[in-house]
């Protein structure tokens, strides 16, 4: 299932998973491990994630939307507004499936958007789409 077979991606890059549900973090962490990613960090909300991003380099952020005190959408906006972080690939993984929310995330610069519940193939295809785009 590794993404290395389908694209040139650095599996040693750091991936940050942001969710306030430990179960969801554990699920995504397991899926990333199966995809071949070995350095996966976690944060329980946007502000914790932002602090981590300012102290370490992350090659990919996978974030939930609905968290307190800082939502995933606010994190996305902060990341895109920060010169150092603005190019970090960002996938939103959320139960928010209103058209307005998807459009807002797109306008804010999300690279991909996954609606919960999702499966391993969906996560894999969205990661491939991002790094495929970057390598072109």
């Amino acid at each position: 299932m590794s993404v290395e077979e389908t694209m040139a991606v650095d599996l040693g890059m750091r991936v940050l998973v942001v969710d306030d549900y430990k179960t969801m973090i554990r699920i995504i962490r397991n899926l990333l491990k199966q995809l071949g990613f070995v350095n996966v960090d976690e944060a329980s909300d946007g502000s914790a994630a932002l602090n981590m991003m300012r102290s370490k380099d992350y090659g990919l952020v996978i974030s939930d939307w609905n968290m307190e005190p800082m939502t995933g959408y606010e994190l996305l906006r902060e990341v895109r507004a920060d010169d150092t972080l603005s190019r970090t690939p960002f996938i939103m993984v959320t139960a928010e499936s209103k058209t307005d929310n998807v459009i807002a995330a797109k306008k804010a610069g999300v690279n991909n958007y996954i609606v919960k519940p999702f499966n391993a193939a969906t996560l894999k295809s969205k990661i491939e789409a991002i790094f495929g785009e970057q390598s072109r």
């Binding site: 299932m1 430990k22 969801m24 939502t71 919960k116």
Partner: protein
């Protein structure tokens, strides 16, 4: 001597039992709602425990299987793992219901004749602007979201 108007003299006696009855009814309702909130919290915890247990066993199977077995079972095990995301969705729905009940309790308390400490609704204004999990057929699926993102 002040003039009595109508049946004012009888009003306090008639009002007090009525008010007390209303107060008791409201207190009973609030008690039931608080009990329901506790049940919802228990549902959330039970779902979390169940998801954690299933995940732990799936992880163990994935780690212990040899290469051939792992390849055969991997897809099924990953499906089991992602299905554990039910805990997140159940949790979000339970949180929405709990916030609604908090609001009902606050409204009931505000309507009681005697001032009682008001209950603050659990959801922040920002969080209440989000919808959480939608209903089947009434929210966007992954293909529709992909189509929106694909538009230039």
């Amino acid at each position: 001597m002040p003039r009595r108007r109508g049946n004012d003299a009888r009003r306090p006696a008639a009002f007090v039992p009525g008010a007390r009855r209303r107060q008791q009814t409201v207190a009973t309702e609030i008690g039931l709602l608080v009990h329901t909130l506790r049940e919802l919290a228990a549902i959330k915890n039970t779902a979390e425990d169940a998801a954690g247990c299933i995940l732990a066993h799936a992880e163990e199977l994935l780690a212990s299987a040899d290469a051939g077995e792992a390849a055969r079972g991997q897809e099924a095990l990953l499906s089991i793992m992602t299905a554990c995301g039910f805990h997140d969705l159940v949790g979000q729905r339970v949180t929405k219901i709990a916030a609604t009940l908090d609001g009902v309790i606050a409204a009931r308390v505000a309507r009681t004749p005697r001032k009682t400490k008001a209950v603050t609704p659990r959801l922040s204004r920002r969080a209440s602007a989000l919808e959480g999990p939608g209903f089947p057929g009434a929210s966007l699926d992954q293909d529709s979201i992909d189509a929106i993102l694909a538009k230039a």
